[in-house]
């Protein structure tokens, strides 16, 4: 089973939930897809056994072969190529690496080069396979790195995979969530938590991925999340109480199961519920 942990709003507890779930599930690989600010490693102290650089394809133009026809610029949806006076200008930072220009170039003047976008690493953490990546500083495009990281994690061939997703509802989140069997949306009972939960719920619904909600910091704020879930037919899978000892543990790199061991059974039951729902669904 492949479960994505997403949220919309940042700081609601995605990593807290992801680490706990990966710990209670057998044969599980944890993938920290938040390549702009990876933090799951802080709770797991993994022993890194491999590092690998990730590249995105960029066009390399052979001026001798280029006829200046401009076809590459016309097919580029990202405006990364300009053809002027029979020479091609490539704006590497705008290129999404789709390769359309390579196919469109009749004289075959364009070949595939690479632009470094980040570094992936993986290894073991208490017997669990753990993967994360760091986006190169200044690099605007994280989805290709997330995609590469997930592909690498697939090679571990674990029975279960937990995807700790980046916040928001834009391309990085969509890339991280895609392919999941189920998505857990972590939120908090605040107006911001509710607003972004609504956006994230719509995003995963559009992607055709079943989802449920974990309400973190339950007890603070109001009942807005419960009311929203009731009105929209969404399941609250679990409520994590708003407790000081969880925050204190978090601050020193203790995962939530060590701060509140009584939650372990709740997490296990939740997995069972999700599993049964998917099998019957």
């Amino acid at each position: 089973m492949r479960i994505a942990i997403a949220s919309g709003k940042g700081g609601t507890g995605k990593t807290t939930v992801a680490v706990a779930l990966a710990r209670v599930m057998d044969s599980c690989v944890l993938v920290d897809c938040d390549v702009e600010a990876p933090n799951a490693h802080l709770f797991l102290s993994p022993e890194v056994s491999h590092t690998q650089e990730a590249f995105v394809m960029i066009p390399v133009v052979d001026d001798d072969k280029c006829t200046g026809c401009g076809e590459c610029s016309r097919v580029c949806q990202f405006n990364a190529l300009a053809v002027l006076n029979k020479s091609v200008l490539v704006f590497e930072e705008l290129c999404h690496g789709c390769g359309g220009c390579v196919i469109a170039c009749e004289p075959k003047a364009i070949t595939e080069g690479g632009r470094l976008i980040g570094t992936m690493q993986w290894g073991k953490a208490n017997g669990m396979d753990f993967f994360d990546a760091k986006l190169r500083i200044g690099e605007p495009m994280s989805p290709p790195l997330i995609k590469g990281l997930k592909r690498q994690a697939d090679l571990a061939e674990a029975e279960n995979m937990i995807l700790d997703c980046p916040p928001g509802t834009t391309c990085p989140m969509v890339e991280a969530v895609s392919g999941a069997d189920y998505c857990i949306l972590v939120t908090e009972p605040t107006p911001f938590g509710l607003h972004d939960l609504n956006m994230a719920a719509q995003a995963v619904r559009d992607m055709g991925i079943p989802s449920g909600v974990i309400l973190n910091r339950a007890g603070m704020g109001d009942n807005c999340i419960q009311e929203y879930c009731r009105a929209n037919g969404m399941t609250i899978l679990m409520e994590i109480p708003h407790r000081r000892e969880i925050a204190e543990g978090y601050a020193v790199g203790k995962d939530i199961l060590r701060s509140m061991p009584e939650l372990e059974d709740e997490f296990k039951n939740m997995i069972k519920t999700i599993n049964e729902g998917l099998n019957n669904g």
Binding site: F78, N79, A80, A82, L84, N85, L89, F91, L94
Partner: protein
């Protein structure tokens, strides 16, 4: 010589569009004959990125040798420069006025972008 002025409308009485890449229109004027025509830049208004690059290509295709606009970002400037098109920034008022200022040599040629991308 053909020059290209970024414009909010389709004729010489329109206001100069302060933006180059996302200008509504370009007015291409022949400085010798005074003949003017409007070139639409609508496709770039909604571009997620690279509007300046595309606009620069549009301008290059008109055969213009100079651009008169309010501001020009780095990628647009690079592209115009590669096309051998001179850039004059800081223009405002009507397109007709900008044309007169250009002809009178009142505008200064830019040596680089005067704003960041997406200003």
């Amino acid at each position: 010589m053909l020059i290209c002025i970024s414009s909010q409308g389709a004729d010489l009485s329109s206001q100069v569009d302060p933006r180059f890449g996302r200008a509504a229109q370009f007015i291409v004027v022949d400085t010798e004959t005074g003949e003017a025509k409007a070139v639409d830049n609508k496709q770039n208004l909604q571009a997620a990125q690279g509007a300046g690059i595309q606009a620069a290509q549009t301008v290059a295709n008109t055969g213009a040798k100079a651009v008169v606009t309010g501001h020009c970002g780095p990628k647009a400037f690079t592209t115009l420069n590669a096309a051998g098109i001179a850039v004059f920034t800081g223009s405002n008022g009507t397109v007709a006025q900008a044309l007169e200022d250009f002809k009178a040599g009142k505008l200064e040629k830019a040596s680089g972008a005067d704003v960041e991308g997406h200003w």
